[in-house]
Amino acid sequence: MNRFMLFIHKTGSPPWFYNFSGKLLPWTWGVFLVLLVAGLYLGLVKAPPDYLQGESARIMYIHVPSAYMSMMIYALMAVMGVIGLVWHVRMAEIMMISSAPIGAIFTAIALATGSLWGRPTWGTYWVWDARLTSELVLLFLYLGVIGLYAAYDEPRKAARAAALLALVGVVNLPIIHYSVTWWNTLHQPPSLTSEGSAIHPSMLVPLLIMVVAWKFFYISNLLVRTRLRLIEQDQRKRWVHHILSGADR
């Protein structure tokens, strides 16, 4: 088995994964914090206010990355779900269900910041804007996956049911997004905050930094949650006692 396959095979074994991710975590958290500080500083202090909306455009540096992450995490969840369903890879199942709450939280952040952003620009907290509406439906999709996983009591079966639902959801995601956007154009003139307009580089750089910062947050939080589930599921196994009595991280 060549080195790459050996590596893939080893990620399957819980103790190896636990130690490997343990070593990885400080680095991912570190990079996240550095990027966060850089992004916030550039976004809040350096970047000029938007010529159209003034200061409130600064909410964009939180809203846009969160909306992007909520879509990306759902797609990743479906991919991990397929791996878990087809090859019964336990690690993929655990990572799939661990990323569901993170995705739901990013969706909630996107919704909250979106409505707060809407208040100064549109005058009301909630506008049935195309993006906000599809974010809302995405939140229901996430809650459906989390709810279904919680409803089953046997973890392996729960993960496969949630994976199947995530797969059906990801097939429907583009359809929902386009039907909501089409529906929105029927009932309302195109809203002000369409990202289509070219963004000035000084505002684009913090935006990109924030997106990468959110990715590192996702990776680190996913590893933490995966390690938690590994310990929780294998709590009677020897490697857990060995690690805990060794009282390392």
Binding site: E154, P155, R156, Q233, D234, R236, K237
Partner: protein
């Protein structure tokens, strides 16, 4: 708790065909090696290995919670094992478990007729099957009004409906009265004589009378 006595190798030597003189095609219907299932990351039963061939009657014994029903459902193909391998022969299987698959709103005849169209074909007419399982008196009543024993007989009628060679029975003798047990012995004996095989999960004294059988003792996973 007696560990299973027969190892895979020995089992083939010992498996003498049933008392009828010769079998046209003595073949293995199902073979299982180091099979186990994990639920909540704990093995439900100790790994088992055995194979069932023409004319065999295999009893899966063990006290409650040792995984007999789980193993039977794995053999039936409903459950996928966590470890180990299982190979099925190409001739059919039929499974009668705790859940009898008898619809309460259909009469006995309707239940049997539906299963006939669904599961397979058999020359014996429904009336004759109803007669064989002793439900002639109640065959026009809906299954809701039947007693537990009568419902079990209605489920066992499925066995006569198809020419499936391998029977998977989960405590078939429970709820049956004396006549019911005699009836079941009869159809089981006839099935084995016709070159069929049967795996039966049973506990305690409810066992087939006067049959050659091989016993596999099941040990629950937690006992390791």
């Amino acid at each position: 708790m007696d560990q299973f006595r027969l190892h895979h190798g020995m089992d083939l030597l010992q498996a003498k065909p049933y008392h009828s003189p010769e079998f046209i095609n003595f073949k293995c219907m199902i073979s299982v090696s180091d099979l186990t299932l994990e639920r909540y990351f704990e093995p439900v039963f100790q790994p088992v290995s055995f194979s069932i061939s023409t004319g065999d009657l295999v009893l899966l014994t063990g006290d409650n919670g040792c995984g007999k029903t789980t193993l039977i459902r794995i053999l039936a193909g409903v459950l996928a094992p966590s470890e180990g391998r299982i190979e099925w022969g190409d001739d059919g299987m039929i499974y009668v478990g705790h859940m009898l698959a008898v619809k309460d709103d259909l009469t006995v005849t309707e239940n049997i007729n539906f299963m006939r169209q669904f599961l397979g074909h058999s020359e014996t007419s429904t009336a004759e099957i109803v007669e064989r399982v002793g439900l002639r008196r109640v065959c026009e009543q809906t299954a809701r009004t039947l007693s537990a024993g009568q419902r079990k007989r209605c489920a066992l009628a499925r066995l006569l409906l198809t020419d499936a060679k391998l029977w998977l029975l989960d405590e078939p003798y429970s709820n049956l009265d004396k006549h019911g047990m005699i009836m079941l012995d009869g159809i089981l004996e006839r099935h084995l004589r016709d070159g069929g095989a049967c795996a039966m999960a049973t506990h305690g004294s409810l066992r087939p009378e006067g049959f050659e059988y091989r016993e596999i003792g099941m040990v629950s996973g937690a006992a390791s």
